[in-house]
Structure formats: structure tokens, C-alpha cells
Point group: C2
Chain length 285, copies 2
Amino acid sequence: MVYGAIEAGGTKFVCAVGDEKGHIIESIQLPTKTPDETMPSVIDFFKRYELKALGIGSFGPVDVNKESLTYGNITSTPKPGWRDFPFARTMEQALKIPIGFNTDVNAAALGELTHGAAKGLGSCLYITVGTGIGGGAVVRNNMLQGLSHPEMGHILVRRLPSDSYIGKCPYHGDCLEGLAAGPAIEERWGKKGADLAGQPEVWELEAYYLAQALMQYILILSPEKIILGGGVMKQSQVFPLIREKLNELNNGYIALPELADFIVPPGLGDQAGITGALMLALAAE
Amino acid sequence: MVYGAIEAGGTKFVCAVGDEKGHIIESIQLPTKTPDETMPSVIDFFKRYELKALGIGSFGPVDVNKESLTYGNITSTPKPGWRDFPFARTMEQALKIPIGFNTDVNAAALGELTHGAAKGLGSCLYITVGTGIGGGAVVRNNMLQGLSHPEMGHILVRRLPSDSYIGKCPYHGDCLEGLAAGPAIEERWGKKGADLAGQPEVWELEAYYLAQALMQYILILSPEKIILGGGVMKQSQVFPLIREKLNELNNGYIALPELADFIVPPGLGDQAGITGALMLALAAE
């Protein structure tokens, strides 16, 4: 018996089948078009297997409240066609199996806690820095949720006084995502992050904002491990800069582990999210 | 059979005996001097009862990690005599009963969730604004902890450009506590908060900083209820100002409940902490 997993992102869907140990047996990638275009291929892929359960880690915002009538829906996304899409219900009706459902980043945190960089711990934080900035967490072995799921990418950070960039977040302008996600990097410097690898000032500024955000997350959540994934974090030169700036901000206040072990890339690489979605399937069974 | 509870604050200890429903049968208050001066009276009080268990909600920082050798200790406090004081162990050796131990604010959050303003919910945030600013939370029915307990009072907020006050936090200068706790109010305005009730500019500024902090807590933790206690929050005129400024900051981004029901004073009044400590005793039994 095997389990299904979907990592639904804004640009692509990863669909996979795997086992209870987190091994991926087969996976496909599909572009995220509209639900009418994308979902039939997703369903066809899973129909080829006899699955025990399916886990979905989805781009958000989503409704993760099991008591809600719209549980399992994507909610107020600006993405054409996906607003109010009943994601979990669509898959349940198609496959007639239990469905686990959460955000892509909560799923990634769960994946890293179960099989990745936070294995054996009771808590971790997973931050993705890419087209947007999102955060998920496991707290005392449960994915973090309350009123809804976290929206950690939109916290306010103090601006570097010499940084006059206006910010790119459509809701908040210069929140963390507006100052430090991929599109902000591109708009501020005129090139994509991958093409700015050799310009240290780009990564100094990036680290300035990300370290501030991590300090807030630490003060509020006290995670045992912080995992930084997403496209921007492929620029691995930013990790030591973030650690250095976090050390300055903390100023000895919180007793932190060795930062090289505490702030790390995903142990599962690009498979954190899909592995977490597989773990959501196990939990849903 | 009854339970014991201690709410250990920086200026006073509340010791109480109560039942499993959270009713306080008897309580005393003692000034917080040194452990040698304070603890014998605390122990004498509880020795008069046959207790099933004792719960302690303590000022911090404390060690809440049950795997740690120093679990139940107060750790790096500047308070004379209390640094490295083995609080839980001292009480266990004196009373020979199970001891529950956590921060005063995590205990207050638990008290409010069990019997106060957040009754029936799975999560809440409790913030105290007084001599310092501290935060505790319950997340999915567990008190929030990970690497350690939260230190939410020390997050950075953006300064009002016209506010030139340097900040009073000995570690961070102008973090939230440094800008908005009772001593900062007194130093900035030259009088204690209670004597500034009629000066709206004081509370506008206070709300400016507290609303920013709440916005960060909401984005990161997504609590179902936010409870604001402590001496400064007795100035109830600040609640509507905080709600108004939070509404502006949120700008419709997160779907929040009616703010008058979402951001509230403690349902248990000044008994949130001691009631929570009693619930810690029940959980320790």
C-alpha cells in the first residue's frame, strides 16, 4: 500500500506516490494553470495507484480549520481560477480516500521534522524565500495553526536607513516579503538573484532583513531548528551573513545553539514539501 | 484533595491552594526578596495542606526543557539571588509531590484558555504589559515552547519617526519592552502610567507600538484570542486605540474576528496567572 502527496505551488504542482518511510516511488510535475486545466491531470496520475490516503501541502491562503464549512479550500488568492477552490474536497470526491491538508510551508516543516534537518526534534521552523516569503512550523510535534495558518512572510522589519526601495508587497508595501522576496531583489537591483551572485551588497542587504525576521521568529516561537529553503536561499553565500547578523541582533540575550547547526538549508533539499505532504497523508489515514 | 499554585513575579509571590475546577480556596501574597528570605514562607504555607501536586508559573528566564539537567531553574535573571535558583527542585524536595513548571505568562495563557477569556478555544496568546513585557501562548492545546520559552516582549517594532526616546531595555534599547513597558512610559513622560490617564498622546503612542507587536504575533502564531493583561493595560482606554491601529496595519489582509472580541482583557482579571499555575499542577499530577 502506498500514499499520495501533492505539493501545490503557485507555478508548479508536484504529485508523488511514496511509502510510510518518506520514500518517493514516482513523481510528476505539472504547471499550475487553472483548476480546470490542472486538476484532471493530477487526478489521473493518482488514479493509477491504490492509495491509502493523500496529503496536500498547498500554496495559500487556505482554510485549515477542520470545523469550517470551507475546510480544505484555497481562499483569497489572486491567482486566476483558484479563489475558493475546494481543493481537499475535489480530491476526496475523485479518489474516495482520506485527505490530509495544510499549507505548503507547514508541510515542509513537517517533512523536515520527520525525515530532514530537524529529525528527532519536537519543533522547527521552515521559511521559504522565493517568489514570496512564507513560513510554517511544527510546535511540540503539531503543525502550527490557530485562527488560521501563519503568514510569517508579511511581518514588518526595520528598514536599513539607506535603503530607499519602496517595497513590492501588494498588501503592505515594505513588509519582509516586499523587501526581501525574489521579485523585490529583481526590482531593486535590476537583475534576478541568480544573476547577482557576485555582488556582495545584494546579499548583505538580504541578510540584514532575513536576520531581523529570524530574530522575531525566535523570540516568538523559540524553534529548535530554523530551515531556510526556496529559490533565493540557493545563494548559499547568504547563510553565513544571516548567522552573523542574527548574532549581532541577539547580542547574547537568548541562549542559541551553534548557529551553523541552527540555521540550515533543508535536509531534504527540494523534497521537503512533497515529503511533508506524504507525512500529511500518513496522518490522515 | 487540593492542589497548590505559585505565581512567582519579580515583585511578589502569590501562593494559592485550589481545586481542579480552578477555584482558589486560600491564597497569600509575599514580597519577592531573595530565595533564602522568601522560600521558607512559601513552603510553610503549602505544608499546611495535603496537596496532590503543585504548579509554578515563574518570572523568567527559566529552563522549561524537561530533558535538561537544569529543568525547573530560574536561569540568567539579573534579580539578586535568583540566578540559577532550582525552583521546581526546591519545592519538590520540600513537599514530595509532582511539580508543574512553566513561565508566568505561559501559565496565564493556560489559565485563560481553561477558565477565562479563551475558554473553549484551542489557542490563545497572553501578553502582559507592566514592569516588563512578556508573552505566553497556548498552541493547539499545548503551552508554547521549543528551544526554550518565548521572549515576545523583546521583538523589534518600527519606531514612530517623531519618537526620539532612546528606549529602556538593558539588552536591546528600543525593542518593544524598551519602548512600551511601564518604566519606558514613566521615563519618557516623567510620570507613571496611572498618573497619565488623561493624556491621550501617551496612549496613542502606546497603542502604536502594541498594535505593531500584535500584528507580528498574529502573522507568526495565528492565535484565536489575544489577552492583554498587566499593570499598564489597566488603562482600559488603550484597548480601542490598539484595535483601531491593528485594523489599519492589517489592512484587510488577515480575516480577523470582531476585534472587540479578539483583543480583550483577561477574563480572570488578576487571577489568570495563579489559575494557570493551578492548571499546571493538575497537568503534573
